[in-house]
């Protein structure tokens, strides 16, 4: 009997050790100089993860009334309507490119599509379209009545730091989780998620000259870029869509074009809030210098960078996009970011005619391959989000289809 009691007692303790517990303060350190709070700007994987923790995606409560009609019922439907409007001025307009009309009736937003587009439902799960509140309030307190359910931690505290600071925080138990860092000693690396954060080099051919694409392709080694200049997990991306969405073959490097006739300096704009982009910009600078280009680097806050992109006021511009996990939607986003929303009708029509998901994906890949050489952007690499935790402090980490961790699902291990 005693043995049975002891066994039950031991199993209870063991059971207790893995059971999710409520309570505690989840402290998350993010490798970034500043953290954006606007969902349309907070599109690095780490920032998107934080946005998800403080907002609710509207892909819940959706009903297809027809292949081209979708209803979203939610007390936050009006806010979703506003987010659609705001998204028109962002690189994520392609997420909702297929929507022809919107009608708000009370808590129901009726969306009319131009063509059948089943991926739209998942597109609405994008953090850029999410609305508040989420599992945690902006002030960090857990929301008991969050639509997705209460978070395990009572409170979420986030901080922006660098890698040395992150390592120190982990060591001193000032953070249990670190997002976006290179491998830190003493930290446990969580399982990687999908690498859907693609970085592109945008360019204006009328300002850079016609040979810029060839100059870049002849000198840039994407594998070396991903390995040596960018935080892991990073993957070379020679194709329009990231490796998670389409196969990436190693492209043959073209020959170097002749140097530009007039060595006029070109300005390369990049995000001042992303250290990896600075490293990539510097690498592009020296490599294009070898091709006869003089590149001037200019760092801009993200809001200004987006504004310059929207106005096409740039010569070269380095920008990252957090692509949705669906190839068709990702394809629309990239087409629109490259300024080819004029292709939406024909591409959506072609896709709408295909019901089979595999056929749709094949069509997207085929069109991506065909259109890529003519677009005014050059894909460089794709990144996922590294998540490291202090061993034994947090458990329950899960990632969504976009590779983002669900902070609300994390629970803290009780202190011994």
């Amino acid at each position: 009997m005693k043995q049975i009691a002891l066994l039950v007692l031991l199993s209870t303790h063991a059971f207790a050790a893995t059971r999710a517990r409520y309570g505690g303060t989840l402290k998350v350190a993010v490798i970034a100089p500043v953290l954006e709070s606007d969902p349309l700007l907070a599109d690095t994987p780490a920032e998107a993860a934080l946005i998800q923790a403080t907002s609710t995606p509207l892909c819940l409560g959706m009903t297809w009334t027809s292949p081209t009609s979708l209803q979203v019922t939610s007390p936050r439907a009006a806010e979703l309507q506003k987010n659609f409007v705001r998204a028109q001025a962002s690189p994520y307009r392609g997420l909702v490119a297929v929507i022809k009309n919107r009608a708000l009736k009370g808590d129901t937003l009726e969306l009319s599509l131009s063509h059948p587009f089943p991926e739209l439902a998942q597109s609405l799960c994008s953090p850029v379209l999410s609305v508040q509140p989420g599992p945690f309030a902006l002030t960090g307190e857990a929301q008991l009545s969050a639509p997705t359910g209460r978070a395990f931690a009572d409170r979420l505290v986030t901080s922006a730091t660098d890698e040395r600071g992150a390592g120190r925080k982990l060591a001193l138990r000032q953070a249990q989780l670190v997002l976006g860092a290179n491998p830190l000693s003493g930290a446990r690396a969580e399982a990687p998620g999908a690498a859907l954060y693609s970085t592109f080099l945008f360019f204006q051919p009328q300002r850079t000259g016609p040979d810029l694409r060839q100059a870049v392709e002849s000198t840039v080694d994407r594998m070396e870029l991903a390995r040596a200049f960018i935080r892991a997990p990073a993957f070379p991306q020679p194709r329009l869509l990231p490796p998670a969405l389409m196969p990436q073959e190693t492209l043959l490097r073209p020959s170097a074009p002749p140097p530009p006739a007039v060595p006029r300096p070109l300005t390369l704009l990049y995000d001042a809030q992303i250290p990896d982009h600075r490293a990539v910009a510097e690498r592009l600078q020296v490599q294009l210098h070898d091709r006869g280009y003089r590149i001037v680097l200019k760092a801009l806050p993200r809001a200004q960078l987006r504004s310059r992109w929207a106005q096409k006021d740039y010569e070269l511009l380095l920008q990252g996009l957090l692509l949705p996990p669906q190839p068709a939607t990702a394809f629309m986003v990239v087409l629109d970011a490259a300024g080819r929303s004029d292709l939406f009708p024909q591409e959506l029509a072609a896709l709408g005619a295909l019901e089979d998901p595999s056929a749709r994906e094949a069509r997207v890949r085929e069109r991506a391959l065909a259109l890529a050489p003519g677009l005014t952007l050059i894909p460089l690499y794709a990144q996922g989000l590294s998540v490291q935790s202090a061993p034994g402090l947090v458990q329950g980490l899960t990632r969504d289809a976009q590779g983002l961790p669900s902070l609300a699902d994390l629970f803290l291990t009780p202190e011994p």
């Binding site: 040596a228 690498r283 600078q285 020296v286 003089r294 590149i295 001037v296 680097l297």
Partner: protein, 554 residues
Amino acid sequence: MRLRTRLALFFAPLAIVPLALVVPSTVRDLRHTLLEELTARIQRTAVSAQATVQQTRTETERAITELASSDALAEVAQDVHQQRNPVGVKSAAEQLMKARGLNVLSLLDDAGTVISSGHVPARLGDQDPTLSKLIRERPAHAVPLWVEVASEEGVTQKPALVFAEPMEYGELRIWVVGGVLLDEAFANRLGALTSAKVQLEGANGLVAQAGDAQPPTVERVLQLSPDLRLRLEFSRAASIKAERGLVISFATVVGIGLVLAILSVLVLTPRLTRPIESLTAGVRRIGQGEMNFKVEEHGSGEVGELVTAFNRMTGELKRTTEQLVASERIAAWQEVARRLAHEIKNPLTPIRMSLETLIAAQKAQSPKFNALFQESAGAVIEEVDRLRRIVDEFSQFARMPKPRLETAELSELTSQALSLYGSLPEGVRLHTELAPSLGVKVDPDQLTQILVNLVKNAIEVLPKGGDIWVRTRRVQHHAVIEVEDSGPGIRPEHRARIFEPYFTTKEGGTGLGLAIAARICQEHGGGLDVDAGTEGTGALFRVRLPVARGLRSS
């Protein structure tokens, strides 16, 4: 030129000349000294700059050598060897570079591939041809090289002092190649040390510059490498300014000296010159007849003695002049009395003879008594008339009335006087040249008397006809009337006496006409003189009268 002015002109050069003699040589010496000092400073500065470059070279070599044997680098080498911590390796060069005060540092493998770079982090994995060449050649000392440097503005080539040292880790060899840029900061450092304008120049032009040198300048060039030189420019502005300042100072001293000389002349010399000026004025006034004038200014020394002697002399001159005038007056009256007696005595003799003849004839009851009585009575009456004329003219001469002056136009008066001669003797021609608007202040009657007398005399010397010219004109401050004749002229022995009373060359003349005319002219403040010319060419009498003020005279 006045004495005071001459003294000023004499003392002024005394103030200027010595300085003018000294200034050029002083300025020349100063210029030479300043140039020598500048040359020496340039030499010292060039040596100092060379020493700074050498010191930088030595420090670079030491820093790279120490780094190559450091534990920090050993850790990096371990990471490279074990192909781990790529992020740490990538940033290692930048951290090591900053820690050792370098601004160029690359870690290369034996093939010259960049393992890590602090000055161009983006060159990771690339071959650096310049640094590869350096590790192949492996010079013993730091050398000037053009290295690639990346910045926000682009990728450029900049000069640097670079040294290479290998580090062995097992079979791995890592080259530590680093140094300092020869950039603006280096130029600033040199500029602060040398106080010169520092320019680093490459084959394509200016690389870095610091400091300033106001032109004009002199320069010294140090060749650091075949395509890199250091130019040091030194300003000569200070020495030129010093030189200019000296010249200005001298000029100021000269100016002050000149002013002081003039002031001293103006202030001090009056003590000397005033008595002399008073003496000069005194001489002038005594010459004009003011015998009572005395010089009041009394100087000291010789000048004072001169003034005293002058005043004593003028007093004696006055007394002597008065005595002489008195004597002359007595002599003149004696002469007049003698002549008057002579003139009176002349007619008395024929009167006496006539009466004695009549008495004798009456005693003798001569039958010619009546004829003798008529003849003798006529002779007596004639001589009595002559006596009366003599007495009348003498009375007129002795009781010459004061002229009643009034302003008149001379030519008009002259014309009026000449009109009294309505008909001239046969053969005598009268010519007039009368200047208009010639105002004089005269007694018209007395002037008429003068002109009548002169023209009468001229007519009398032309018994067989001739020409008489009457002219009026202005000569300086006098109105002049000239009466000229074409007669025989005046004999030289008579010219001096022609204006004396009772001197005459005419038969029956009283000898008072010209004397009266001369006295009238004197009373008017003028004068009467004669220009006798040569014998036989006629005589010219000239009346001078003061010009009247207020009446416009041409």
